[in-house]
C-alpha cells in the first residue's frame, strides 16, 4: 500500500528533534481524549437532572420538537422535555429502541412507538405500567383503533397520540371521466377497471417492506379475516394464522388482480408510499391508497412551483376500497403512540408529560402543521383542522373503521414472513401463497427456519 511510509526513505530516517515532535503528539492526545469523552457522553445518557425527560421521536416536520417545547413551558420548571431523533423507518426505530432497552438504558423516558411493535415492547417488560387514572383520561374520546393499538393482553400499555389511516385518493376528473360514483363505496375491481379505461394509474405499496404487510392486512381484514386468528401471547408455537382461510385466499386474489393489471406502474414491486404519491401527482395519476400526508405534500409542491396548482385541486379522498361489494372495508391503521420506558427514572413525570403531549390542542397543531391525524375525535371538529384538511371527516370515519395489524410480540417475524411470501405481488397465487407463508412463519416461530 502506498500509504505505508518506506522505512528506508531518507525522510523517514531523519528524526525531528524533541520539541518539534512533542506538540503534535500532545494535540493528538487531546483530540483522542475529546473524542473519547464525547463518545462516552453519547453512550452514557441518563445522567443529569431527573426532571429532564428524554423523548425519542420518529422523524417528522418538526412538530414533536415544538410540542416538547410547548409542554416544557407549560410545566413551569417541573420537567423539561428533550427530544432525541430515531431513524427514518419504523423497523429501524424498533431496532434502536429495543437494543437500548434490552441494555436497561435509563436515558429513554418517552418514546414514539409504531403501534404494531407495542405488544413486543410490553411483553418484554420494557414499558412502565400506565396508572389507572391516566389510562382513563387518555382513552376518553379517542378513536377505537388507536385505543386498540395501545393495548396488549387486555391492558392499556401506551398513550394514544396520533392515528394514521390510509384513504382512497382519487382525481375527481378521472373518476368523473370513468363514470365512477365516488359517494358510494367502491371495490378494488372497480377502481382498477376505471383506471384501465381512463389510462391512469392505481397506486398501492408493492415493495418488500412493512407497507406490503399493511396492504395485505387491510385486504384480509376487509375480506372478513385476520392474519392471526389465535394470538397465544406466551407461546409463539401456538399462534394460529388465517392466511389459508377463505378471506386469506380472497385477499390474495385481489392482490394478484391489482398487481397484474395495467393500472399499476412499471415499478410496482418497488413502489412505496412516496413513489406512489409521486405517481399520483404525475399526469397519469388516477387512484391511490395512501396516508393523508399526500395532500399537504401536493400543496407544498404546488406552492414551491414544482407542481401545477390545478393538480391538488383535483384531489379527493374517500374510504379505502372494498374487497367485496357487500363487506365494509377495513382500512389500515397506523400512527404513533407514546410509551414510557420501564427504566425511566421518573415515570410519573413522563406520564404527566405524555398527557400534555397528547392534549387536543397539541394534536390539532400536529395535524394542521405536520399532516398527522389526531386520535382524539374532538380535534376533528376544530375549524382550523377542517380548513387545512377538508377531508378530515373522512379520516375520522376511516379511523373508526380501521383494523390494526396483528398484535403479537412476534410481529416482526409475521410481517417479514408475509413480505417474503407475498413479494413480488404479481407472483402470488391464491391458495398456494397462503400455504407457503403459513409454513414459513410457523417454522420461523418454531426457530426451525431462517428469515
Amino acid at each position: 500500500m502506498s500509504a505505508i511510509p518506506d522505512p528506508h526513505s531518507p525522510r523517514a530516517r531523519t528524526g525531528v528533534p524533541g520539541q518539534g515532535r512533542a506538540r503534535p503528539r500532545r494535540l493528538a492526545g487531546a483530540a483522542a481524549g475529546a473524542l473519547l469523552a464525547s463518545g462516552l457522553a453519547a453512550c452514557g445518557g441518563g445522567g443529569g437532572d431527573a426532571s429532564t425527560l428524554t423523548w425519542y421521536i420518529n422523524p417528522d416536520a418538526g412538530g414533536q420538537a415544538e410540542i416538547a417545547a410547548r409542554c416544557t413551558e407549560e410545566a413551569d420548571g417541573r420537567y423539561t422535555i428533550e427530544t432525541a431523533l430515531l431513524p427514518r423507518d419504523a423497523a429501524s426505530q424498533r431496532e434502536q429502541l429495543i437494543r437500548r432497552l434490552a441494555a436497561n438504558d435509563d436515558s429513554i423516558d418517552l418514546m414514539s412507538l409504531d403501534p404494531p411493535f407495542i405488544p413486543e415492547f410490553a411483553q418484554a417488560g420494557f414499558l412502565a405500567p400506565v396508572p389507572d387514572d391516566v389510562a382513563d383520561r387518555v382513552t376518553e374520546g379517542v378513536v377505537e383503533s388507536a385505543v386498540e393499538g395501545s393495548t396488549w393482553d387486555g391492558e392499556l400499555v401506551a398513550v394514544p397520540f396520533w392515528a394514521n389511516t390510509q384513504l382512497l385518493w382519487y382525481r375527481e376528473s378521472v373518476a368523473e371521466e370513468a363514470g365512477l360514483d365516488m359517494s358510494e363505496p367502491v371495490t378494488w375491481e372497480q377502481i382498477v377497471q376505471a383506471a384501465e379505461e381512463t389510462g391512469t394509474l392505481v397506486g398501492a405499496q408493492g415493495t418488500r417492506a412493512e407497507s406490503l404487510t399493511v396492504w395485505f392486512n387491510a385486504l384480509i381484514e376487509s375480506a372478513g379475516g385476520s392474519i392471526i386468528t389465535e394470538a397465544s401471547p406466551g407461546d409463539p408455537s401456538q399462534i394460529e394464522l388465517g392466511l389459508t382461510s377463505e378471506a386469506g385466499v380472497r385477499a390474495t386474489e385481489v392482490m394478484q388482480m391489482v398487481a397484474e393489471s395495467d393500472a399499476v406502474g412499471a415499478a410496482f414491486s418497488t413502489a412505496n408510499e412516496d413513489s406512489t404519491a409521486t405517481g399520483f401527482e404525475s399526469e397519469s395519476g388516477g387512484f391511490q391508497v395512501n396516508y393523508p400526508f399526500v395532500y399537504p405534500r401536493a400543496l407544498g409542491a404546488a406552492e414551491a412551483g414544482t407542481l401545477d396548482p390545478s393538480v391538488p385541486e383535483d384531489y379527493a379522498a374517500t374510504i379505502y376500497p372494498r374487497v367485496d361489494e357487500e363487506t365494509p372495508a377495513a382500512p389500515p391503521y397506523g400512527g404513533i403512540n407514546l410509551a414510557v420506558s420501564a427504566f425511566s427514572e421518573s415515570p410519573e413525570l413522563a406520564y404527566e408529560a405524555a398527557e400534555c403531549i397528547v392534549s387536543d390542542e397539541n394534536q390539532a397543531y400536529y395535524f394542521v402543521t405536520n399532516g398527522n391525524p389526531a386520535s382524539s375525535t374532538a380535534v376533528y371538529d376544530d375549524p382550523e383542522v377542517l380548513e387545512a384538511f377538508p377531508m378530515a371527516p373522512v379520516i375520522r370515519e376511516s379511523l373508526e373503521q380501521a383494523a390494526p395489524r396483528p398484535q403479537t410480540p412476534y410481529y416482526n417475524e409475521i410481517s417479514v414472513g408475509i413480505q417474503r411470501s407475498y413479494h413480488p405481488p404479481s407472483s402470488v397465487q391464491p391458495g398456494e401463497t397462503g400455504e407457503n407463508a403459513t409454513e414459513l412463519i410457523k417454522a420461523v416461530l418454531a426457530k426451525e427456519d431462517l428469515l
Binding site: 437494543r99 411483553q123 415499478a267 418497488t270 413513489s275 426457530k447 428469515l451
Partner: protein, 319 residues
C-alpha cells in the same frame, strides 16, 4: 524460461550476516518491538478476539434479546437450522456471485488505472491519484444512495440517458428483478473499490525492477510480452494481496444491498442474513451462528489464498 523474475533471496538469512546467536542489540530490538506493538496487539485482541469468542458462545444458545429469561443451551442446533435452510445457500450463492464478479472486474480495471498512474507525468501523478481515490473516500451508504437514485425509475437519469441500449427503456425497473438489481449493486461496488485495488497494484508496479524491463526491451520483447512475461510475474505478490483483501471485503457486502433492495428479489447476502436474524429478529443465538459461519467462510478464503496461491503478505511491502 517463460517469465523473467529476479532470483529469489532468502529473507531470513541475509548474505552479510553470519549465523550467530542473537546479539544483545538484536534481543533489545526484539523487546522494543514487542513493547511497541504490544499495546496495539492487546487492543486487537480485545476488540476482535473477544467479540468473536462471545459470538461463538452465544451461537450455542436459543436466545432472544427480548426474552433473556428463557435462554437455553441448544448445542449445535442453530448451525443445523442454518445449514439445512435453502435461504442460507441462496445467500452464499448471491455473495459468491457478487464477490467473483466485482473482484474480477476490479482487478482488470484497477490494473489499467495503475498502469495509467505509473505512466502519467510526474506532475500529474498526485492529482490523478487523488482523483482516482475519491470514490473510495465516499462512505458506502452514500455511494449506495447515489447509485440507487441514478437507477431509480422515477428520479433516476439512467433510464432516459441509456434508453438507446437494448433492454433499457423508460420503464426499466432495475430493482424489481434479481439480476438487474445485482448488476447495479455490483456496479456500485466496482465504482467504489476499484481505486483501492489500483493503489495496491500501483505499489506492486513500482517494485518491478527497471533493469528487467530494459533487458526485455533489448531482447526485442513487445509491450504486450513485457506486460505478461515481466511486469505481471514480478508483481504477483501485490496482485495476490490485492485480490485477497478485496475478496475478503467483497464477501462481507452489506451496505449497498441494505440501501438498494433491502434484500428483496433474492439479493440477500450472508451479512444481510446475519443482520436480519440478529438485529431485526433479535434471535441473538441464531444470528451469532450465521456470523460465526460467515467468519469461518472468510477465514477459509484467507487460508486458501495464502496456502494455495502462496501469498506472502510481507512481500507486498517490498521486504
Amino acid at each position: 524460461m517463460s517469465t523473467t523474475t529476479l532470483p529469489p533471496t532468502k529473507k531470513d538469512a541475509p548474505v552479510s550476516a553470519p549465523k550467530v546467536r542473537a546479539s544483545d542489540r538484536a534481543r533489545g530490538e526484539k523487546r522494543l518491538g514487542w513493547l511497541l506493538a504490544g499495546p496495539a496487539f492487546a487492543v486487537m485482541l480485545l476488540v476482535t478476539a473477544y467479540p468473536i469468542l462471545q459470538a461463538t458462545y452465544e451461537s450455542l444458545f436459543d436466545y432472544r434479546l427480548t426474552d433473556p429469561e428463557n435462554r437455553s443451551f441448544t448445542g449445535l442446533t442453530n448451525y443445523w437450522v442454518i445449514l439445512t435452510d435453502s435461504l442460507w445457500w441462496q445467500s452464499i450463492g448471491v455473495t459468491a456471485f457478487i464477490t467473483v464478479v466485482t473482484v474480477a472486474v476490479e482487478l482488470v480495471l484497477g490494473f489499467g488505472l495503475a498502469l495509467v498512474m505509473v505512466k502519467a507525468l510526474r506532475a500529474l501523478r498526485p492529482v490523478l491519484r487523488a482523483a482516482i481515490l475519491i470514490p473510495y473516500a465516499v462512505i458506502t451508504v452514500v455511494s449506495a444512495f447515489a447509485w440507487q437514485f441514478a437507477f431509480d425509475i422515477q428520479s433516476g437519469f439512467v433510464n432516459s440517458w441509456f434508453a438507446w441500449l437494448p433492454g433499457v427503456s423508460e420503464n426499466t425497473d432495475w430493482f424489481g428483478d434479481r439480476w438487474t438489481a445485482l448488476l447495479v449493486i455490483c456496479l456500485a461496488e466496482i465504482w467504489k473499490t476499484t481505486p483501492f485495488i489500483s493503489l495496491l497494484l500501483l505499489a506492486g508496479l513500482a517494485q518491478v525492477p527497471e533493469v528487467l524491463q530494459e533487458a526485455a526491451k533489448v531482447d526485442g520483447a513487445t509491450r504486450w510480452q513485457r506486460l505478461w512475461k515481466v511486469t505481471i510475474p514480478n508483481m504477483k505478490a501485490a496482485i495476490m494481496v490485492a485480490l485477497l483483501f478485496r475478496t475478503l471485503d467483497a464477501f462481507r457486502v452489506f451496505d449497498s444491498i441494505f440501501i438498494m433492495t433491502n434484500g428483496a428479489n433474492g439479493t440477500e447476502s450472508v451479512s444481510f442474513l446475519a443482520y436480519r436474524q440478529t438485529i431485526a429478529r433479535l434471535e441473538i443465538g441464531l444470528g451469532s451462528a450465521v456470523s460465526v459461519l460467515l467468519f469461518l467462510a472468510v477465514v477459509l478464503i484467507a487460508f486458501s489464498f495464502i496456502k494455495l496461491f502462496k501469498v506472502d503478505l510481507s512481500q507486498a511491502r517490498g521486504e
